[in-house]
């Protein structure tokens, strides 16, 4: 199967669209003023029409072309070894396997291969903005992550009888949200966050306007690179805001989930508190649900690799018991 047939990510943002996005950011105070004036005067003019007019006028389109030439595009093509993967299996179940925040499919590839050996078809999904460049990462929104997984699940539904979502960390949170609204046969969330309380969080949306990115700690980078997983060395702060928006929405629809679910937590997880998994387990409406603890792992379950083979066995037995 060719790569493009299963690609579902929303990375194909054209340079022209990016420039438009930036220019809109530049003139956003004036757009806000116009919006305010419109509300104040009850005018029928829509801001979108005015912007569209401006974009299509020839002197402005010439300026856009000039800017296209001046500024290099944001790198939105994936690295070869961080690209998503698709492993065909012989049974009727297809798994969408998703990585965590700032990571990429290479993190979960080994886990995917072990599941594939058990007979499952595995699609290692790369969420938008991941595995490309931090600049690209900083312009996606949580809706892109949701739509990307939803599309992948739709495609898997057409190929296979059963579609299963497995997500690590933020990928797990997206999986929870997708399974609340779409036809999914089972769900496995691994260390998925739904409520975090980092210090100074209330200030983060404001701070992220002025401090664009924050470096990752050297120790966590060292551990990730030792596992030969390519990951961003910085975290765009506005993406942390997006992650919190995702968690807020997921919390609201947690009690709408009624598919068989395996909730996994890691005993030594210092990133996502244990209570998150307990709360997910107690809130979802699924009749068939199980709780499993990776006793030896930290948050990076697939990088630590201490509980991966046990997790594969657990996932396999859970799916055979509740899905087939």
């Amino acid at each position: 199967m060719s790569k493009n047939n299963f690609r579902t990510t929303f990375d194909a943002i054209s340079r022209r669209d990016l420039i438009k996005q930036y220019l809109k950011e530049f003139i956003s105070p004036y757009i806000a003023t116009l919006r305010w004036a419109k509300e104040f005067l009850f005018s029928d003019v829509t801001i979108e029409n005015v912007l569209q007019q401006v974009e299509t006028q020839s002197p402005f389109s010439a300026i856009f072309s000039f800017i296209d030439e001046m500024f290099p595009p944001i790198k939105s093509e994936p690295e070869y070894d961080t690209d998503e993967f698709f492993l065909e299996g012989e049974n009727d179940a297809g798994i969408i396997l998703t990585h965590g925040f700032g990571s990429n499919p290479s993190e979960v590839r080994e886990f995917g291969e072990l599941l594939n050996k058990k007979g499952y078809t595995v699609h290692g999904l790369r969420l938008p903005g991941h595995g490309t460049s931090p600049d690209h990462f900083s312009i996606v929104r949580f809706e892109d992550w949701y739509l990307s997984m939803k599309n992948a699940a739709k495609k898997m539904n057409k190929r296979k009888k059963n579609t299963i979502l497995i997500g690590h960390s933020m990928g797990g949170t997206v999986s929870l949200l997708v399974s609340a609204f779409n036809k999914i046969d089972a769900l496995v969330s691994v260390c998925a966050p739904i409520e975090l309380h980092p210090p100074f969080y209330p200030l983060l949306p404001t701070v992220s306007h002025f401090v664009a990115e924050w470096p990752r700690t050297p120790s966590s980078l060292k551990r990730i690179r030792a596992a030969k997983v390519k990951s961003y060395h910085i975290v765009p702060l506005n993406m942390v805001v997006e992650l919190f928006a995702l968690m807020e929405v997921t919390r609201k629809y947690l009690d709408k989930i009624n598919v068989p679910a395996l909730v996994v937590a890691a005993r030594k997880d210092k990133v996502v508190p244990f209570e998150n998994a307990e709360r997910i387990f107690s809130t979802i409406r699924s009749e068939k649900k199980e709780f499993w603890v990776a006793e030896n792992s930290t948050h990076q379950v697939f990088i630590d690799k201490l509980d991966v083979s046990a997790l594969v066995s657990k996932v396999d037995s859970f799916l055979r018991k509740n899905v087939f």
Binding site: P29, S208, F210, E248
Partner: protein, 147 residues
């Protein structure tokens, strides 16, 4: 001569500002005249320098801090307002309040309509909540909420 090949991987962050600094200095030096009577003792070079650094700033904002881009034009308007006041202040007859003549009205218009009102409107603009954003892409939200 590897650095002349087209497969260069780019430059350190300080190359561009350092080069622009020396280009600007060069332009200012060749334009400088001791007793020509102009305010800066220069005729044209400061405009070129201003344009060069503004273009660099815009590029920096776009490539490094796109989320701060909204401050650019209001800041520019503030600078223009101050510039108008300075021109007025250093040119006679200086008969008005605070020694100003023509610049009071245009500078206050630029400052109020170009800086203050846009910043207030931008800061006070209510962003849609995560739930409202999600409802726009997921048609089943209403149905689920009514369950």
């Amino acid at each position: 001569m590897g650095f002349l090949n087209s497969d260069s991987t780019g430059f350190k962050w300080w190359v561009t500002p350092a080069n622009l600094l020396f280009i600007s200095l060069f332009l200012l030096i060749i334009d400088y005249e001791v007793n020509d009577g102009s305010f800066f003792r220069m005729n044209w070079s400061y405009w070129v320098v201003l344009i060069i650094w503004t273009a660099y700033l815009v590029k920096l904002i776009i490539t490094r801090h796109p989320r701060t881009a909204w401050l650019f034009f209001p800041s520019l308007m503030l600078i223009i307002a101050v510039y108008l006041l300075l021109i007025d202040y250093f040119n006679p007859p200086n008969n008005g309040p605070l020694g100003l003549d023509f610049a009071v009205i245009p500078a206050s218009a630029v400052f109020i309509f170009g800086t203050l009102i846009p910043i207030i409107s931008r800061l006070g603009y209510k962003e849609p909540t995560p739930e409202e954003r999600f409802a726009k892409i997921e048609p089943l939200v209403e149905e689920k909420n009514n369950e």
